[in-house]
């Protein structure tokens, strides 16, 4: 089977799947405006990487790596990448749960999940804690700083100029 002169083989398709997921995930991580979407994109990219790992241990006409009875000589697909993927999947879900927890905390602190808004409020927050005037004023329309610097040293504007 060929398409546009390119022979369509199984490996082409499978690699397209794996790398496609990674690329879509990467694009999502980079482009998404919404934090939750970024977390989803991360999961997608991880899925792609897992698929790639499984592919790396695949063998034609081999059986699943489970011995059934005596014919242990039959060729099997590589069990090691499968074990690795098993681990990677669980790691992925752990990280994802943590990310969701953090996202909740972000929402609570800043009241938004928009990436650029988070970035700006973070900047304003750090600067506010430190008592530095922020350079950009783009955070102004989005509302006041949600957290007043509670125990920050009050710095009068005059004394900050050296």
């Amino acid at each position: 089977m060929t398409l546009f002169g390119l022979e369509i083989t199984l490996d082409l398709i499978l690699y397209t799947g794996a790398f496609g997921l990674i690329v879509i995930g990467a694009a999502g991580i980079v482009l998404a405006h919404h934090l939750f979407r970024v977390i989803l994109a991360l999961a997608i990219a991880e899925a792609g990487a897992n698929l790639l790992l499984v592919l790396s241990g695949y063998r034609w006409d081999a059986i699943a790596p489970i011995l059934s009875g005596s014919e242990s000589a039959a060729p099997m697909v590589d069990p090691v990448p499968q074990a690795m993927v098993l681990t990677a999947i669980v790691i992925g879900v752990g990280v994802q749960a943590l990310a969701v927890g953090l996202a909740m905390q972000v929402k609570k602190t800043y009241g938004t999940l928009d990436m650029s808004a988070i970035r700006q409020r973070l900047e304003a927050d750090i600067a506010g804690t430190a008592g530095i005037a922020t350079t950009g004023s783009q955070d102004a329309p989005l509302g006041e700083r949600p957290l007043p610097p509670a125990d920050a040293v009050p710095v009068t504007p005059g004394s900050s100029a050296r």
Binding site: F19, V30, S56, L67, A83
Partner: protein, 229 residues
């Protein structure tokens, strides 16, 4: 404009990786280690499921690390969201049917989960897959009755002691003169339920740990209070 550039870069990444990927001799994995494990596993570990042999035997410490990651994630979520039970407005309890269904389902899930865990060294499945089902079993009451919180103490005990059990089994091997996580006990007959030495015990510890961990995690997430904006 920036979006377009990023898309281009992402596409470029895919293209480049594809180029590398297609250079491989797909379907003829070198399997240096895989082959050796396949031939050695029955004697060395005694598990019919070679993946299990790898996960708990050859790469046992990976699995320990993985458990620790789950534990760390759950602990971190607990640390971040933990101490805020003040004015959480729980979701209303679900209806009778769901509750009854949940109560019926729970023991069923427990049994299924334990089955999958205990047969992990024979058939596909094992501690992780079974653990997830256990987690579902533990978590279903919370879903059905959000107002009654998960029994944290019990979960914590299962969580702590099952993790400790995994390590202690490993240490037992170390102190009986072998290496950490060396398979102990009799290998038994390949394919029997009681075979593969300590492997099923390890998987049981993994399953309980995973189950308790995930249930705790879910409970934390479910109980978290986030101001609605």
């Amino acid at each position: 404009m920036r979006n377009l550039a990023s898309l281009l870069f992402a596409g470029g990444l895919g293209f480049l990786l594809m180029v590398f990927g297609l250079q491989f001799d797909f379907g003829n994995a070198p399997m240096l280690v895989g082959q050796a494990i396949q031939s050695a596993a029955p004697e060395q570990v005694g598990a019919a499921n070679i993946v299990t042999a790898v996960v708990l035997g050859y790469r046992g410490i990976d699995t320990l690390g993985e458990l620790a990651i789950l534990f760390a994630a759950s602990t971190a979520v607990g640390l971040i969201l933990g101490h805020r039970h003040t004015s959480t407005k729980p979701d209303p309890d679900s209806g009778l049917i769901l509750r009854a269904g949940g109560e019926l389902l729970m023991p069923l899930l427990l049994v299924v989960g334990l089955y999958i865990i205990l047969h992990g060294h024979l058939t596909p499945g094992g501690g992780f897959q079974g653990g997830v089902i256990l987690a579902a079993a533990f978590f279903i009451p919370v879903l059905a009755r959000p107002s009654t919180p998960l029994k944290h103490t019990g979960m914590m005990l299962i969580e702590g002691f099952s993790g400790a059990a995994f390590i202690l089994i490993g240490l037992a091997a170390l102190y009986s003169g072998g290496e950490f996580l060396q398979p102990l006990l009799d290998k038994g007959t390949l394919g029997n339920l009681v075979s593969a030495g300590t492997l099923p015990l390890l998987y049981l510890a993994v399953g309980l740990k995973v189950g308790a961990e995930l249930a705790g995690l879910l409970a934390h997430l479910a109980a978290a209070e986030v101001s609605e904006s």
